[in-house]
């Protein structure tokens, strides 16, 4: 479970034009479920997920991971609640690497290198056996129908293919939580349905799924266990 208590994120705090993107959010997110965050642009959905995913620290408030970061920090007793907002940068990086897999709205693939290299990027700092991780990456890409694009440059992929590469990359370290930011924003309806099909498989595999979206294909999906609606940085409804 992920627990947020009075989480606030203010950009440019202390300057002339501070902007509060997340304003006192308190929330419990169950593990192994699909939670959708919906709301208009600027409502704070993406910022909230970057805080949960250890990509930024909240200005105030606490975030606890319950039993999700045990793989990331084996030397800590992280099987129970782990308060992440006060952890040193090194620990946050380890959690980001092991616990979370990110699928970005713009996919954020590194241009100029191959599909396989992009998928392997999260494994480079781990120093794992390259043959083992490559075999894992190839298997993941094959399962996503990208076997023939392994050595192709990502610049030549279609939108749907690029997203599947981003999904393979998010899964390469076998994270417990998958965070997807507006994953269907650049996909047509058929590809959006395909994406939800993949999410269904990950949910069955026990992954915790956090998706921001204002696409009805996502938030009206039967897969969504919970829909959290946000506006102006606050949670306005939970269903």
């Amino acid at each position: 479970m992920i627990e947020l208590a009075q989480v606030v994120k203010t950009y440019e705090a202390g300057l002339a034009t501070p902007f509060t993107a997340v304003d006192g959010v308190t929330l419990s997110i169950p593990a192994a479920r699909l939670t959708v965050f919906k709301g208009p642009s600027g409502s704070g959905k993406t910022t909230l997920l970057t805080l949960i995913g250890c990509m930024a620290r909240p200005t105030s408030g606490r975030i606890h991971l319950h039993g999700l970061a045990a793989d990331a920090l084996p030397h800590l007793d992280a099987t129970e609640a782990l308060e992440i907002t006060s952890l040193p940068e090194r620990f946050l990086t380890a959690i980001r690497r092991r616990t979370f897999g990110f699928i970005f709205q713009q996919f954020n693939l590194v241009r100029g290198i191959s599909v396989l290299e992009n998928v392997l990027l999260p494994t480079y700092p781990t120093g794992e056996d390259p043959r083992a991780v490559e075999a894992r990456a190839v298997a993941r890409l094959e399962s996503l129908g990208l076997a023939r694009h392994l050595r192709a440059s990502v610049d030549r992929l279609s939108g749907g293919e690029a997203q599947r590469v981003a999904i393979a990359r998010a899964l390469i370290n076998d994270p417990a939580v998958i965070i997807a930011d507006e994953p269907t924003a650049h996909l047509d309806s058929r590809l959006s349905e395909d994406f939800m099909g993949l999410m269904s498989q990950f949910k069955e595999a026990g992954k915790t799924l956090l998706i921001t979206s204002h696409d009805p294909i996502v938030y009206d999906s039967e897969l969504a266990d919970r829909v959290v609606e946000m506006r102006d940085g606050r949670v306005v409804s939970e269903a």
């Binding site: 930024a56 092991r98 999260p122 494994t123 056996d129």
Partner: protein, 378 residues
């Protein structure tokens, strides 16, 4: 491979792949960078090689040379003075030397013709330096005509081409019997060009020199140390002159490299954010940028130094020789013998590789230490 080593290798692989992704930009940078290293290294090699040649030359030089000056004009020494100088306390040996410059109008170069008492030298034969052989395109057993003071040519057979341990010593040298030198230059029997003086104890040389001047006020003793200082000063001065000329090019490069190295493009900044979001630590990003900077700067350094080596020692520094070898028109073309100074190469390494690598790290460090979401939004 152990995980930490594998981590280094993975990041190095990715650094190489990143450099290839920006081929155009990196090749342009590498070319300019290597060119600057090439120019500076050529200069360093050239001056070092000339100094080395000068030192080689002076190793064989006598402790002191005594010339005669008549109102400032160099004049042959009477042989009788050699006996008087030999009698000075502390003088071990006095050897009259017979030599002179011979201008060859066909090849447009000055040769140094010198007498030798070497018993191996056959009658009517000469020994020549490698530079002379190259300039005249002759080899052992060939005949060479030399035109004497009266315009009459005398044929000499080449008995030996001198070894190339130091071309500055022997490049323009023609050794012949004393009688042939006297005949060629119409040199009187009772005179020598100068006197080579050896002292029993080199510390006594200044005292001996003072006594010679006292004995013969028109004489001019030149110590070996003075010759060495003069050579070094000339080569340093010439090298310094080139540095001034090249300074503007080097400064332009520094500005260019600084701009390329310190300015991260929006794409690079975003890439750092992506890597951090994927679980790269700031240290991993810095290692990546360190490898990128190191590969560029070490490659530029090595290629610049190798090209400079070839330029100076295989092509006789053809780009600089007119600036550095001011007397080359009157001198047979000679090849420099390689003389590398590890200290200077190390200084060059630290002056070229370290600043660039450091310059690439600073902006990357700034980008790598912010939250990944900020780097991605920027």
């Amino acid at each position: 491979m152990r995980p930490p080593l594998q981590r280094y290798r993975n990041i190095l692989d990715f650094a190489l792949s990143s450099l290839l992704r920006r081929k155009g930009r990196n090749l342009a940078l590498l070319s300019v960078y290597a060119l600057v290293v090439f120019v500076i290294a050529s200069l360093v090699f050239f001056v070092q090689a000339l100094k080395h040649e000068a030192r080689e030359l002076l190793v064989q030089a006598p402790d002191m040379v005594v010339q005669r000056l008549v109102a400032g004009r160099h004049d042959p020494m009477p042989l009788a003075q050699a006996e008087a100088i030999r009698a000075i306390r502390g003088v071990a040996e006095v050897q009259p030397r017979l030599w002179g410059y011979y201008y060859d109008p066909v090849y447009g170069g000055n040769l140094t013709v010198m007498a030798t008492e070497d018993a191996d030298l056959a009658p009517d034969a000469i020994w020549i330096g490698a530079g002379v052989a190259r300039t005249m395109r002759v080899k052992e057993s060939d005949m060479v005509p030399l035109r004497g003071y009266d315009g009459q040519s005398t044929l000499f057979s080449i008995q030996k081409v001198l070894a190339e341990s130091s071309e500055l010593v022997s490049a323009d040298l023609v050794l012949m019997a004393p009688k042939d030198v006297r005949a060629l230059f119409h040199f009187p029997e009772n005179l020598a060009t100068d006197l080579a003086v050896q002292a029993g104890n080199p510390r006594e040389l200044p005292t001996i020199a003072a006594k010679i001047v006292e004995l013969y006020p028109d004489s001019r003793p030149i110590l070996k140390a003075e010759l060495l200082r003069t050579y070094e000063a000339v080569f340093d001065w010439r090298g310094g002159l080139m540095v001034v000329v090249l300074a503007s090019a080097v400064l332009s490069f520094i500005i260019f490299a600084w701009d390329k190295a310190t300015g991260l493009s929006a794409e690079e900044r975003k890439e750092i954010g992506v890597l951090k979001s994927l679980g790269w630590e700031s240290a991993d990003v810095l290692l990546l940028k360190f490898w990128e900077g190191t590969v560029i700067s070490v490659t530029a350094y090595l290629s610049g130094v190798l090209l400079a080596y070839a330029h100076v020692f295989f092509f006789s520094a053809s780009l600089f020789e007119h600036a550095l070898k001011g007397w080359s028109v009157l001198f047979p073309r000679y090849r420099l013998v390689p003389a590398l100074d590890g200290y200077q190469l190390t200084v060059l390494f630290f002056l070229t590789v370290l600043p660039y690598t450091a310059a690439t790290l600073v902006p990357s460090w700034r980008a790598a230490t912010v939250d990944p979401d900020a780097a991605m939004r920027s």
